[in-house]
Amino acid sequence: MNVTDRRRLLGPSNAKSANIPETRTSSPSKRSEDEIRKMFLKTGLVGNANGSAYLEVDDTIIEVSVFGPRPIKGSFIDRASFSVECKFLPHIPQPNEETFKNQSGSASNVRTGLTTVEQKLSSYIETAFLHSIILEKYPKSTIDVFVTIISADTTSSSNKSLLNLCNWVSNCTSLALVDSGIEVKDMVTSGQVSLNKSTNKILMDPDYSNNYSEDDSVDCVCSYMNMLNDVVVGFWIDGNQDDLDEQTMQKLFENCNGMSKKIRSNFNSYLRGTIE
């Protein structure tokens, strides 16, 4: 603890910390390369939203609420307007936030609105769902998605954990939209993989917190509408790759699609369970 911390009451100087045993029992490395981490999901938790979903994967906890269709005022619009706002809870460190923060010059350190990282996340989700939602069916309305990141794995300093977060946020948003009863052309599900350049091996849903060597990989998150001709509705490739060729690209997409399909089938059976 910082000695100069005068803002809170500190414990007695001779205090002993409680002896809490190591809780992590299972080693996460047991996962095979094409295995997705176990997830917990639940829809309809937020009572006053039109639809909501909650998702936990390891340390990543996401909650999504959907409001709409709600009326707008002002101009007539023949298709609904659609907005997404992703926010990290205030105490959660954001992946790679140092890079995108303006360290110098800016007078205020107060967070106003969304941070650049939150904006990027919001934009990814918006782009990915724009085609899916049948906006034509909701004239004069707005559909608003609010994402709260309750906990995130941010041990990695690069964009890669952001990619993984994009993946889970989009999956969770998909469930929340279905829960809201807003008509969609197809559910959007995503996959995220990492390709190690030296070994040329694909790792599905990589867990960046666990001594994963990340310097030498190219990473991809990709969102699909699997039942609608497997079209790509959103993707983002990032990572340390200095020459991207078609083969690498195809490999990344194929594996993302594989993961997306797995998640889709999981979601299908979950949703089936909620109605029967």
Partner: protein
Amino acid sequence: MELYSPEGLRIDGRRWNELRKFECRINTHPNSSDGSSFIEQGNTKVICMVQGPMEPVLRSQSNPNQANIEISITIANFSTTERKKRLKNEKRLVELKATLERTFEQSVMCKLYPRTVIQVNIHVLAQDGGLLAGITNAITLGLIDAGIAMYDYVSSISAGLYDTTPLLDLNTLEENDMSTLTIGVIGKSEKLALLLLEDKMPLDRLESVLAIGIAGGHRIRDLMDEEVRRHGNLRLSKVNV
């Protein structure tokens, strides 16, 4: 450092009543605005772009009697030697904006354009003293280029008082060290559309400072007028092809 030497020379070698290099261009952004201009007053560089008069985006901007003039000022982060991130809602900028809007609401014949808005976008690329003066001159030219009716030129210049000597058209170094007055002169008259004095100036010296300011303003007006005519004739010659 001596701002004004006993020989009567300022840091940049000017005499007390000399202007810095003043250059202006009209119609610099013909494809993205209704009227535009670029001025260099010493090292202060300002771009002005005017849109309108046009239909306001929001009903609340609409005044049934006259046009609303809205001025937005962007000061580039790189405009000073030391780079500084600037917020748009900085108090000084908000004040500046209000001052300018008031000035031009009087000089532009707003009554001719009811229910419209005149949007003025200012970009300050470099500043070296005389910011308000530079912006005012840029707006005057931008409005003229947009064909918006106004009573006369508003030409602006800063002047300061060093000990007992009035100095014309201050640069940053001078501005930091003496009380500065910025005036906007209407045409060739001795009437002012704008006067800004943010610190103390002895009353008995005010007149001499104003006098040199007005003289400087008239000179600026002539330089601007010359550019307007040059551009206008160029344009007419093209039309007559």
